[in-house]
Symmetry: C2
Subunit: 277 residues, 2 copies
């Protein structure tokens, strides 16, 4: 593992690190905020998964999460959204290939070699982070924005016991029924739609649910509402009697201005779960 | 004036606007955050001047200021750091020309036509903002980072009565004695150093001081400490018995991670001055 940068931030350290990933067969970069409490003992950790076109850096500099993470004494991990590099397959569209991993393990050419973001985030990166830094693997939570909200929800539901709480900002909530999903699942997973269900938060909510609290925020003026389909997830949550809430925030759009506005709420929500005995 | 974008943010609006500037003889772009209180009545305003290489956008997305501005009900203006465009003079160095206006009116070729950031910020943009938006011209404060800290301090001291309070993050504090200053003043103002004194915060502190509180934050691990010279300004402030404080923050560098860490403090500092009767 290589240290790219470390900046003191709210009394803690905002670091950026790169490492060789076996899952993705390339070098991967991630951001990690460690609050000052991590100097003394392992701290709880919140994973933040980002949206289309983002790297590890966008949320790290634009979401304003460190202020509240420092308040609560919580670490933050900001993974990248896909494998990257010259030898890595890509597409000229912004929503396929590099920057658009969709948090799946690809089974179709030309994506199979590198596009294994599910394994990377379900196994490899958590193993590396918990082995290397003072973070407590028994106190993890996860959140994300847009494609990252999709990733957070699907990981949380399919890895029971891993995360104490899950939240999402404007998640891609029902990708099997959206152009943000059908296109990518066809490319990465193939035409057999039965393989897609494991990567659709609404379908997973109906089938599995989540053993803990769920918080969803959605802006009413989001320019991508038709692609996100929060109504499908909300319906599934209510039908399941899922512990949680879905909030429609009047006037907010899809930007980091929306995310940062409600970041304090999400951090308090996760802190309550993470610091429960 | 043209609206580039408006995003709801912390209950208010983060806007970006462009307009034809007479001072700079080109189109100029600025960011403006209006808290929700501005829908009812004019609100106090804090000007945020940015550093070298920045546009209006950097601090707007990375400094985390809107959270606290919304808490206090204060508007924020994020001006650009220089004139820009194809017909505008430039230099290949990052610290001269576009992105490096240094908040002066240039008197030397090829800069005279457009590089009039002093007039732009002392007169033109305040006139436009107070005439167009619900901000209270009697309750203004100013801050800035690095080159912007230099701008904030020099504007505050040379426009007595305009600002109730001034603060700065790692300001270029003594540019007449620094390579961040001598090079640019020579280019923009000419070789006669007597014209430079009006743009040096340390010299202005000795001569004029500021009729209100001054807050300076500086990171001890700032990679540019030798160029910033906070010791000169601190000495001048103490010698003058200036109302204010200079804080050395252990371990922090020159980045926005430093700025955002102490933004809440600066906003509270300005709020106290802005909401005083």
């Amino acid at each position: 593992m290589q240290t790219i940068s470390e900046n003191k931030c709210y009394g803690g350290i905002q670091g950026v690190y790169s490492h060789r990933s076996d899952a993705c067969a390339c070098d991967m970069t991630f951001g990690l905020f460690l609050p000052k409490e991590a100097a003394d003992e392992p701290v709880p950790v919140l994973w933040y998964l980002s949206g289309l076109t983002c790297t590890h850096e966008n949320a790290m500099v634009k979401a304003g999460a460190q202020a509240w993470a420092a308040d609560h004494g919580i670490a933050l991990v900001f993974p990248d959204t896909s494998p990257r590099g010259e030898g890595v397959a890509n597409d000229e569209a912004y929503d396929l290939g590099q920057g658009a991993g969709f948090y799946v393990n690809a089974t179709e050419a030309p994506w199979t070699t590198h596009f294994r973001m599910w394994d990377y985030l379900a196994e490899e990166l958590p193993d590396l982070v918990t082995a290397t830094f003072a973070v407590d693997e028994d106190r993890q939570a996860i959140t994300g924005h847009s494609m990252g909200g999709h990733g957070a929800l699907t990981l949380a539901m399919r890895l029971p016991g891993r995360f104490r709480s899950v939240s999402a900002f404007a998640p891609i909530a029902n990708p099997t029924q959206s152009d943000w999903g059908r296109k990518q699942f066809t490319a990465y997973l193939g035409a057999d739609e039965s393989t897609w269900a494991a990567h659709d938060a609404t379908l997973l909510m109906r089938r599995l649910g989540f053993d803990g609290p769920v918080l969803i925020d959605q802006g009413s003026k989001d320019q991508f509402l038709d692609l996100l389909k929060p109504e499908a997830l909300a319906q599934a949550m209510m039908e399941r009697r899922q512990n949680g809430l879905v909030r429609m925030q009047p006037g907010y759009d899809h930007s980091y201005f929306f995310v940062s506005t409600f970041m304090a709420d999400h951090m308090a929500f996760h802190a309550e779960a993470l610091f429960q005995d």
